[in-house]
């Protein structure tokens, strides 16, 4: 889609796709990535787990192609931040109804067995983008271990529990308008609109060319209730952003974590940094 659009001078805002390939070998000059990539999300979680000294991971991944890509992101993060994956297990999606009358009984029997006989580990990291199994793992693992990734402690661009940095105000406005709580996808779409508005007001123009020129300039930044302004990486047009670690009820932490240093901005400790990029714009 980006190719034909680019030929017509159209810029696309990717508010949903987490694929790293879209920011790497398949990157485009006319695609702005507002959604965080899998690598950014995995790095955000990895930093916290390492800070917590939960550095021995079991990686449980699903059988869908996206789960494989997310598992790759966790493997990369483990290597980057000094965690060790002591065992990998795959959960095969064999189809069937998710919830039946006796489903709870089955799940309670199935999940402990799925996590039985693992080597010593600190935390179960799950890669399950289609919500097939990870949601059933907390409190059902064979050993008493925390669950993170696609369930338990989840790295997200937004949480309805985030109240810091003026978050309470945007949450209130959203609920008043939509009669439900604000999801990560909502926030990503809002941020994209906010970026366009910001670039339009800064450039003083409604001309798409001038708006995009402003957005891609080094001075561009947008406020999005994350405690610091969000800026664009010039090497792959990915929005730099803090990632929230959410347990479904509270924001447990916000990455990047203290101590993970960077020569330009700590936000570039999340995802593919300039020297690693394979994107040629």
């Amino acid at each position: 889609m980006a190719g034909p659009a680019g030929a017509k001078g159209v810029t696309l805002f990717n508010v949903a796709a987490p694929d790293d390939a879209l920011r790497q070998q398949s990157c485009r000059n006319n695609v702005i990535h507002v959604a965080p990539s899998r690598a950014m999300l995995a790095d955000a979680l990895a930093q916290y787990l390492v800070w917590k000294k939960w550095s021995r991971w079991v990686l449980a991944y699903g059988s869908h192609p996206e789960d494989g890509l997310l598992a790759d992101a966790y493997r990369r993060s483990a290597k980057r931040f000094g965690a060790r994956i002591v065992k990998e297990v795959e959960f095969k999606d064999t189809g069937g109804a998710r919830q039946t009358d006796s489903g709870v009984v089955q799940t309670q029997a199935q999940m402990p067995v799925f996590t039985q006989g693992l080597p010593d580990y600190d935390v179960l990291v799950t890669a399950d983008e289609n919500e097939v199994f990870a949601g059933y793992l907390p409190f059902r693992t064979w050993d008493a271990r925390p669950v993170a990734g696609s369930a338990g402690l989840r790295p997200v661009s937004w949480s309805a529990a985030s109240e810091s940095w003026g978050g309470a105000q945007v949450q209130d406005r959203f609920i008043r308008m939509a009669h439900r709580r604000m999801t990560p996808l909502d926030m990503q779409a809002w941020t994209a609109c906010r970026m366009i508005g910001e670039a339009a007001s800064r450039s003083g123009s409604t001309d798409p060319g001038k708006i995009m020129q402003n957005m891609k300039s080094p001075d561009f930044g947008v406020a999005a209730y994350k405690g610091q302004k969000l800026t664009l990486r010039d090497w792959d047009l990915q929005l730099r952003q803090p990632i929230l670690l959410d347990d479904g009820r509270t924001v447990v932490s916000v990455s990047p974590q203290p101590g993970f240093l960077h020569q330009v901005t700590e936000l570039d400790t999340l995802g593919f940094d300039r020297p690693e990029t394979r994107c040629k714009l």
């Binding site: 105000q169 910001e198 406020a223 302004k229 901005t265 700590e266």
Partner: protein, 325 residues
């Protein structure tokens, strides 16, 4: 033994009380997290009392005659009136929802309140305690300021990133000036020639000509060893002669001292963590800062530009006012 000790204690106490000047400066601090207000005696340089107030207290000021303390109790959707003599909450002003901060007109009335959740400025008559008007403004209104001549009201909006200028008489918006991201505070020089607006995420202070409504200077900050995103300007105060401006830099834990002629930063003063709002003592000798994360108030000696004391208060101190004499 006992009577003698009591007598000795009483004797020691009497000269102390007598020596206390009739006019001890008192500072009042809102503790956002504790739902309390700390009372600081500036002769003793310590917190002498802590009183319960409404939920999430933030903006704080006194009426012109000093007879009432006004507190934005944001989560109670009200402004509380506290009697500084008895330290009792004696009443409330109809602030509209989620009042964050406010500014009193130079004449002492009315009060301009920013309603953060509803994109409104509420105007309140503090004598009759009635809301006179609500005027729409930018998204997430924050800082409020009144020009020294009383003719212009300024409101900053955190999400629209503008300083909005209102005409006092007509209550109409006359201009909006684009500033850096997330503008927090607007503050007029005492001579009224400029209004300064701090941008928390933009990391700058915009100097605005209040007649032409243009940004004439943008002041940036550079603290060695700190990243640009860790420098977030919030509170602004001018010395009485307007020669020097002080800007609180939030999580940079510093107050910048700025020469208002050259717009250069002369010095950075290390204070407590997440320095937020500031207030001068009436004699201009000290500048007090609230430090949200270290739960204290730093005392800056204005003449020597040194931090001389830190005074523990409640949790998450936000606003501060020193009672007029």
């Amino acid at each position: 033994m006992m009577p003698i000790r009591t007598a000795a204690f009483a004797m020691a106490l009497v000269p102390l009380l007598a020596a206390k000047p009739a006019a001890a400066y008192m500072a009042y601090v809102t503790n956002e997290r504790d739902n309390t207000m700390s009372v600081i005696d500036l002769d003793q340089m310590k917190t002498v009392q802590t009183i319960p107030v409404g939920q999430r207290p933030r903006g704080i000021t006194t009426t012109k005659d000093g007879s009432q303390i006004l507190i934005c109790a944001s989560d109670d959707d009200t402004i509380q009136v506290v009697d500084p003599k008895t330290l009792h909450v004696t009443g409330a002003l109809p602030s509209g929802p989620d009042p964050e901060t406010f500014a009193l007109h130079v004449s002492g009335n009315p009060l301009y309140v920013s309603n953060e959740d509803d994109n409104l400025v509420t105007i309140i008559d503090v004598t009759t305690r009635k809301a006179i008007a609500q005027i729409p403004t930018g998204v997430e209104p924050e800082g409020m300021a009144v020009s020294p001549d009383g003719k212009t009201i300024v409101n900053t909006s955190e999400t629209t990133n503008m300083a909005h200028f209102f005409d006092f008489a007509s209550q109409k918006m006359v201009a909006s000036v684009l500033v850096g991201a997330r503008p927090r505070i607007a503050e007029f020089r005492h001579d009224g020639s400029e209004v300064w607006v701090s941008s928390e995420l933009g990391g700058t202070v915009s100097v605005i000509d209040p007649v032409k409504h243009t940004v004439t200077h943008s002041i940036g900050f550079d603290v060695q060893g700190l990243r640009a995103e860790g420098i977030q300007p919030v509170g602004i105060r001018f010395t009485q002669d307007d020669a020097t401006a002080f800007v609180a830099l939030g999580p940079a834990n510093r107050v910048a001292v700025i020469d208002t002629k050259t717009y250069e930063v002369k010095k950075y003063l290390l204070v407590g963590q997440r320095v937020w709002q500031m207030a001068f003592t009436p004699d201009g000798k000290y500048l007090l800062t609230t430090n949200g994360l270290s739960n204290d108030v730093s005392v800056i000696d204005v003449a020597s530009l040194t931090v001389v004391k830190s005074i523990p208060v409640g949790r998450l101190p936000w606003g501060i006012v020193v009672a007029p004499q």
